[in-house]
């Protein structure tokens, strides 16, 4: 069976859930091989084995240096040549897409981004995408070279399967061309203590209707164990950081439950949440377009509705 390369998504060496999802998808297509660029710890090795990595290729972080993503694409190109994998998977983040795009040119291969599911058609990956603001579902295949697929968070339920996890050190020489853009500073974001927006099962989002006060939104989110999001209007007003923006130019989320509060539901916003399983809205304006797509809606002021909901949820959860 062919190898399937998975570029490990990790923060400071700790493996993210998206990696487990990609390893699960890789197993449908062949033998999962994790590609870890960084300092591999015992914990990370265990995590990768737990979700079925048969091989773990390790690349010393010093080899890729302080350069932007290009060296990572060179690492993958070398491995593609060496292993002739059935596919290469990476997360559909800004960095993942760029690594994949460069790999596509280097190996003259087709690339699919933003996959929300990947199935196997006799070992050939078939990727599902949600396009045009979630109004169409598209299935596609790569028809040239090695399939390169950038996978979105929550695309699979991670399945624990013991993998051999054989560690293989890979040495790499980075070309001069890859050294043209260099990082001059990295400032890690402070953790909010809430679930990651694109991975969360429940998202509570606030918009213009908050008037800049996100406290009721955050409190409801915390009572439900949810992530907090914001509409573009709220972000543009400087009320909430851009990292939390949901919509076409922000995050696209697809949680089990999406609660839109004080958000009118413009197309730009719908593009980021339309595929959520269950949608609830609270808005003062009964004409707000968001009410066209909700499973349940409350016409009312979020500043009075949300605190009562939070109190009751907390009580019922005991």
């Amino acid at each position: 069976m062919s190898e399937v390369l998975v570029l490990v998504d990790h923060v400071g060496g700790s493996v993210r859930k998206t990696t487990n999802e990609m390893l699960t998808i890789a197993r449908r297509l062949g033998e999962p091989s994790a590609v870890f660029i960084g300092q591999l710890s015992d914990d990370a090795t265990a995590a990768l084995k737990q979700y079925g990595a048969e091989k773990i290729y390790v690349i010393d972080p010093n080899a890729v240096g302080p350069y932007l993503v290009t060296p990572k694409a060179e690492v993958l190109a070398q491995l593609v040549e060496q292993a002739s994998p059935a596919a290469v998977l990476m997360s559909s983040s800004a960095e993942g897409k760029e690594v994949g795009a460069r790999l596509a040119v280097k190996t003259d291969s087709g690339m699919i981004t933003d996959a929300v599911d990947v199935e196997s058609d006799g070992g050939t990956p078939v990727a599902t995408q949600s396009v045009f603001a979630g109004s169409y579902t598209v299935k596609s295949k790569v028809s040239k070279g090695t399939p390169i697929i950038a996978v979105k968070p929550n695309s699979a339920t991670p399945e624990a399967v013991d993998g051999a996890g054989t560690v293989e050190q890979v040495s790499i020489t980075i070309s001069d061309a890859a050294k043209g853009a260099q990082m001059t500073g990295v400032e890690p974001k402070k953790a909010s203590g809430r679930p990651e927006l694109t991975e969360a099962a429940i998202v509570v989002a606030g918009g213009r209707g908050t008037g800049g006060n996100f406290e009721p939104v955050e409190q409801l989110a915390d009572s439900l164990g949810a992530a907090v999001g914001a509409s573009r209007a709220a972000v543009d007003s400087g009320w909430y950081p851009h990292t939390f923006q949901i919509g076409q130019t922000g995050k696209v989320v697809s949680p089990q439950l999406y609660v839109a509060t004080g958000i009118s539901g413009a197309i730009q916003h719908r593009a980021g949440m339309q595929t959520s399983k269950t949608i609830i809205a609270v808005n003062k304006d009964e004409e707000a377009p968001i009410f066209e797509l909700v499973d349940f809606g409350v016409v009312g002021d979020l500043h009075s509705v949300l605190p009562t909901v939070t109190e009751e949820v907390t009580k019922r959860k005991g």
């Binding site: 760029e98 078939v126 109004s135 974001k189 797509l293 909700v294 009075s304």
Partner: protein
């Protein structure tokens, strides 16, 4: 300094976007326009021009006949000249082939800085800046939420999910910018009038020396097997809050769906 801004003509996102029978995007039945996200790249190019004083901004697009409208809009905003690559053989091209056409066109234009928006509003892959950078063999710095040119150096700030990264590269290079770089200007009346006299060249594949067999639907590196419209969501129950009744009903709904 010579700046090339790559832009795309896309179906209006507020229109009824759909696919053709061959699973390509319907680019005729829905009104097209300059992709909103490209306006931010044009804006940043114009600001760099204003700061450095001696830059020339060329707008480049690849697309069907109507795509020249996207170039026109950029010229109205203040870009200096336009190039429209148009050839029937290009229809249905994948990102990989499109990057080839763009890169070959850019090679024919004097360029120091090549700029892109963060992605198109239709395909939304956001991979072309990296692909073109790779093909041109120059550095790439993508998804800048701020960009600054200082002599032959370009600096960007990228606000990622886990960290904010600052990066620096030397010209020539490719950069893409997000909507966080700041609102794009509207064309002024003067700008609209001036744009009528600005030159727009139309190039075919043979002008670029690109073999038509490398592009188009038949040569695409990805194949769409199936497109399906999602059933529209139907509105559920809507209640009007009166003295806390809305909150209670909402909690009951959450409980009925086992969220609490």
């Amino acid at each position: 300094m010579n700046i090339v801004v790559c832009v795309k003509y896309v179906p209006d996102a507020t229109g009824d976007r759909r696919f053709e029978a061959d699973n390509t995007v319907d680019r005729v039945g829905v009104d097209g326009l300059l992709s909103e996200l490209d306006e931010y790249a044009i804006e940043q190019a114009l600001q760099i021009k204003e700061k450095t004083g001696d830059a020339e901004v060329t707008v480049l697009t690849v697309g069907p006949e109507g795509a020249v409208d996207a170039v026109r809009k950029a010229l109205q905003m203040g870009a200096d000249k336009g190039v429209h690559v148009s050839d029937e053989a290009i229809a249905g091209s994948c990102a990989l082939s499109t990057s080839l056409v763009l890169a070959e066109a850019i090679k024919k234009i004097d360029h120091d800085l090549v700029m892109f928006g963060m992605g198109s509003t239709d395909g939304a892959m956001g991979v072309l800046p990296a692909m073109v950078s790779e093909r041109l063999g120059v550095p790439g710095m993508t998804f800048g939420s701020a960009i600054e040119v200082d002599g032959d150096k370009v600096k960007i700030r990228r606000d990622g999910d886990t960290a904010t990264v600052t990066a620096e590269g030397k010209l020539p290079l490719v950069a893409s910018v997000t909507d966080q770089t700041g609102e794009a200007r509207y064309p002024s009346f003067k700008g609209i009038m001036a744009a009528k006299k600005k030159p727009v060249e139309t190039w075919s594949l043979s002008d670029l020396g690109v073999d038509a067999g490398l592009v188009g639907l038949d040569a695409a590196s990805t194949t769409v097997e199936n497109t399906e419209a999602r059933p529209p969501r139907t509105a559920g129950e809507i209640v009007t809050d009166e003295d806390g009744s809305g909150a209670k009903a909402l909690v009951d709904f959450l409980a009925s769906k086992k969220f609490i």
